[in-house]
Amino acid sequence: MWPRIAEILIGLWLLASPWVLAYNTAVSAWHMNGFVCGSAIVLLGVLSFWRGSKKAHLAEIPVSLWILSFAYFGSAHPAPAIAQSDFLTALFLLNFAIIPSQANLPPISWRNFREEGRPDGRPVPP
């Protein structure tokens, strides 16, 4: 489950970063975006720990793509620190979001297949 924990921490950074990197400006779209997207990422990361919503982390992919495009198209050159931070954070998030929660174990489908055994009855190597 380590990717989920990393995602929750990244979500917390998204929440906090507008107030760290754009503290001297009025509350702007960056603050709103960071708050909404950061909360969504934390929520989806936590939801992935329950069996019923274990695929919730995949929903982080569209959220990351949104953050990525908002940072890219929503800023002029030179990009403010918050835009650069959001851009890089979204890339990291995309990378984590695609990793399955139990990546060390075979996928469910292969686990079931092994329990049923091979058609010819021979034992299946792990």
Binding site: A83, F92, N95, P107, S109, W110, F113, P125, P126
Partner: protein
């Protein structure tokens, strides 16, 4: 190198400095290298192929960049040479797993001749053809 016109232009296109993107590339290699078990060539070919797409072109590009330093820029950068050497080593370490995955998928295709079965095997769904393709190598 860091404050050149090319670097500024890259920053204009990429939003972030290209070095940050490079750091992200190496981080991405580390994450994709750590995820999954040693048998992921069978269980999660998509992850192995993605890892290969990440590692192999990146390693080749960093070698090309070092060659460009010597031929175009005319000076060398010690850290760049070290990273290029490590990247080439990573290509060597990574290619066998990618090759296993491609061989496995080719065997699945050879047995099933069915795009849905191949597609499912790519995303890690079990099937009789996929199991046969994966197990024969281990028995023989």
């Amino acid at each position: 190198v860091l404050d050149s016109d090319v670097s500024e232009k890259m920053r204009y296109w990429l939003l972030i400095p290209d070095a940050a993107l490079g750091a992200f590339g190496y981080f991405s290699e580390a994450i994709l290298g750590l995820a999954g078990s040693t048998r992921r060539w069978q269980y999660r070919p998509w992850m192995v192929i993605l890892f290969g797409i990440d590692v192999i072109p990146l390693g080749l590009v960093s070698v090309v960049l070092v060659v460009l330093q010597g031929t175009v820029v005319g000076s060398w950068c010690f850290l760049c040479i070290i990273t290029a050497a490590i990247s080439s080593l990573l290509v060597y370490c990574a290619y066998d797993e990618v090759w296993s995955s491609i061989t496995y998928l080719r065997r699945v295709w050879g047995r099933s001749r069915s795009i849905p079965v191949l597609w499912n095997a790519f995303w890690g769904t079990a099937s009789r053809e996929a199991a046969e393709a994966a197990l024969i190598t281990e028995i023989s």
